[in-house]
């Protein structure tokens, strides 16, 4: 079984193309269409603003690769030739590593952005609902969740705001804690002021007030923010006194708030903290106002420097995050390898079980010399002893086989065991393989058993002899 990812992202395709191959809102129908094509055994569609990817588990990787690229083109009605230069495909562990990096935020446009993990989980949930997830992709996606969670908790990859408006909100939260109940004053009716005020509003601030020299502009901005109020320029001092956060973005070209002005406001406020965000160029607030106790003054350069520091800090965490991804890929790879041993283990166990049952049948004749009432107990006793004996004999070989390091060694060992014990897989071998390989601790796939049989078609075997 192979793992495959075919897709495009912000790294390979412009936004115009990404918009055209967006699966959002149509993921279920895409999953159904994919399942109907029959080139894959399992499928998950991951679609975000910055990527559209199809993850699949399949028997024939080259066929599936071509089919998935074709599907993407057909489903969205985009010319295949136009799509081809922007589409990438990765196979097996490269595909697994890619998903884990995506979930960890390492492949995001803004490295470490936290939304992607939720989007990966959502993609898995949708595929589980559509019953297109089997043991391979289920395990792979859970490995990606683990990698994403570890990267967020064990590294600083997602810490710190990486946009000016979020940096302002983050600072406000560090000064005031919970922003609900706080008042925001926006001086000026510019776009940046509006955007920052909207971020503040989304954090639950109690009141947003707009002050502009032109009342009509103030009213317009207040309406655009939603739930904000507008007051005339003459009331600036009164509103300033009652505000906790001030965003100035007038573009007036001269100082709006001097140090003396702010000092005068701080007295009736009893020195309650005042956070002034001056995002105007040239600046609206005299720099010396930041010297006043309990006044925190940040201009656009200060906020951008904070953003740059955060980006640099995130970049320094990338290596640690990559190491976590490598660990999780290695763990997944080990699980994947152990699956290769399962057909041999199943055949070996079947062989031993057949021998045991045959000998128990022969024992029935010998037990006939015992009194009738003693026979069931004696048979049960022998059955239990032989079952335990077989279990113990096979325990070490099973563990050793599953722990083998590489595919070549595993194939050599499997071949040796097959020859030594005269093993021959049952016609149901492949399905048995799937069932036996699902570790007890494997997360549930949510797939119905009937669907499982349909998805895991038995391979054609050179020998059809049943060991049973």
């Amino acid at each position: 079984m192979h793992i495959l990812v075919v897709g495009l992202s912000h790294r390979t395709a412009p936004v115009e193309l990404r918009e055209r191959v967006d699966f959002q809102g149509r993921v279920e129908s895409a999953l159904r269409a994919l399942a109907a094509r029959g080139s894959t055994d399992e499928a998950v569609v991951l679609s975000t603003c910055n990527r559209a990817e199809l993850y699949a588990a399949c028997q024939d990787a080259s066929r599936a690769r071509a089919d998935l690229a074709g599907f993407m083109s057909e489903f969205h009605g985009v010319d295949r030739k136009a799509l081809a230069p922007h589409v990438y495909d990765l196979q097996d562990l490269d595909a697994a590593r890619h998903l884990l990096r995506v979930a960890a935020g390492l492949d995001s446009l803004v490295v470490g952005e936290p939304q992607i993990l939720g989007q990966v989980k959502e993609a898995h949930t949708l595929a589980t609902g559509a019953q297109t997830v089997g043991p391979i992709l289920n395990r792979l996606f859970h490995a990606s969740f683990a990698a994403g969670k570890r990267v967020r908790t064990e590294t600083g990859l997602s810490s710190g705001a990486v946009s000016v408006s979020f940096a302002a909100v983050s600072l406000a939260r560090k000064i005031f804690g919970d922003l609900s109940g706080r008042s925001v004053l926006v001086i000026g009716a510019g776009e940046m002021g509006k955007l920052t005020a909207q971020h503040m509003k989304s954090q639950g601030v109690q009141r947003v007030t707009i002050v502009s020299r032109t009342m009509a502009h103030a009213l317009h901005t207040a309406e655009a923010i939603g739930g904000a109020g507008a007051v005339p320029w003459e009331e600036l001092d009164a509103v300033l006194c009652a505000s906790d956060i001030v965003i100035t973005a007038t573009g007036a070209g001269s100082t709006i708030l001097t140090k003396a002005h702010v000092e005068a406001v701080m007295r009736p406020r009893r020195n309650q903290p005042l956070f002034i965000i001056d995002i105007a160029v040239p600046r609206d607030v005299e720099a010396a106002a930041g010297e006043i106790e309990q006044v925190f003054l940040y201009n656009i350069d200060d906020l951008q420097a904070t953003v740059q520091e955060n980006l640099a800090r995130r970049a320094s965490e990338v290596l640690r995050a990559e190491a976590i991804v490598a660990e999780e890929v290695s763990r997944f790879s080990q699980w994947l390898r152990s699956r290769g041993a399962v057909p041999t283990v199943v055949a070996l166990r079947q062989k031993f079980e057949n021998i045991r049952r045959a000998e128990l049948e022969r024992l029935d004749f010998k037990l006939s010399s015992l009194p009738t009432e003693a026979r069931p107990e004696a048979r049960a006793c022998v059955d239990e002893i032989t079952r335990l004996l077989v279990e113990k004999l096979l325990l070490t070989p099973t563990e050793q086989l599953k722990a083998l390091g590489d595919q070549d060694t595993l194939a050599a060992h499997a071949e040796a065991l097959t020859r030594l014990f005269g093993l021959s897989p049952s016609p149901d071998g492949e399905r048995e393989t799937v069932r036996a390989s699902a570790d007890p601790e494997d997360p549930p796939t949510g797939r119905e058993p009937s669907r499982r049989v349909e998805f895991f078609r038995p391979k054609s075997k050179p020998s059809s002899g049943s060991g049973r």
Partner: protein, 276 residues
């Protein structure tokens, strides 16, 4: 016996420092677990001393310090669990380790003289224990406030910015601890005055130099009243003057420095009235 809690407090300090630096939730949980174990071991030690002496070990300076450390550990654990905030641990634990070193190196003898009897004495001492523990927490919270304030003011958002709660939360916690401490300090001083008046009436008072020294001229009593004045100003005056945030944080540190001065050097070397 006091060495076991000391070793556990030291281990908890290392765990809290590690947690503060790396912010690993697992290490944070380990730090809290070790501190809980230290507090339990300390409870056992104090319990044993209580059984041995027949009363809570608070009448001699060294056992009093041990009991104070125990109470401070419990108060910090309560604060941590109620706010779900572990960042303060790295600032509180050094104080616990430093103070617990005194009873660990010099266990002292818990003796209770005839004058130190009665409910007033117990109420006086236990009120002051609670007051000092609250002031210790307020001091540590105040220090962390100043550290964070300076980072935000200087626009270098670094180590403390990423690890400490907001200025507002720290300020509120500081106010709360000061208010609790002030109430207990006031009770402790009033009950102390009542106790002094009571023991002066005893027949043995005439020959006991400690009872004779119970006046404003005694350094311990005088400094305790200075403490009360500082914390009263912080509770009722400072904020009315617009002294929020950093100034009250500095006042908390100053107040606790006076408490520590009264607690160790004055108690050991200068006081005559509290020379137990």
């Amino acid at each position: 016996m006091n060495s076991v809690p000391l070793a556990l407090y030291a281990a908890a300090l290392i765990a809290y420092a590690w947690h503060f630096a790396r912010r690993s939730p697992g290490v944070g949980l380990t730090a809290t677990t070790v501190l809980v174990a230290a507090a339990l071991a300390h409870t056992f030690v104090i319990g044993m001393q209580t059984m041995e002496a027949g009363h809570v070990p608070i009448t001699s300076t060294t056992p009093f310090i041990s009991t104070f450390v125990w109470l401070l550990a419990l108060a910090y654990l309560y604060l941590e669990m109620s706010t779900n905030e572990r960042a303060m641990g790295v600032f509180i634990l050094p104080l616990l380790v430093a103070l617990q070193t005194i009873p660990a190196l010099n266990p002292g003898v818990e003796e209770r003289s005839a004058v130190l009897q009665g409910p007033l004495f117990s109420l006086h001492v236990s009120s002051l224990l609670f007051a000092y523990a609250s002031f210790a927490l307020a001091c540590v919270i105040g220090i962390t406030y100043v550290l964070l304030f300076k980072e935000i003011k200087a626009k270098h958002l670094g180590f403390f910015y990423a690890r400490l709660p907001s200025l507002q939360v720290l300020d509120r916690m500081n106010q709360w601890m000061i208010a609790i401490g002030w109430v207990f300090l006031t009770i402790g001083i009033i009950v102390g005055l009542m106790f002094a008046a009571q023991v002066r009436a005893l027949p043995s008072a005439a020959v006991d130099p400690r009872v004779q020294a119970m006046s404003l001229g005694d350094p311990k009593i005088f400094v305790a009243l200075v403490c009360w004045a500082v914390y009263s100003f912080e509770t009722f005056g400072a904020r009315r003057l617009g002294w929020g945030g950093r100034r009250t944080a500095y006042l908390s540190a100053l107040g606790f420095a006076i408490v520590l001065l009264n607690f160790v050097p004055i108690s050991y070397f200068l006081t005559r009235s509290h020379d137990f």
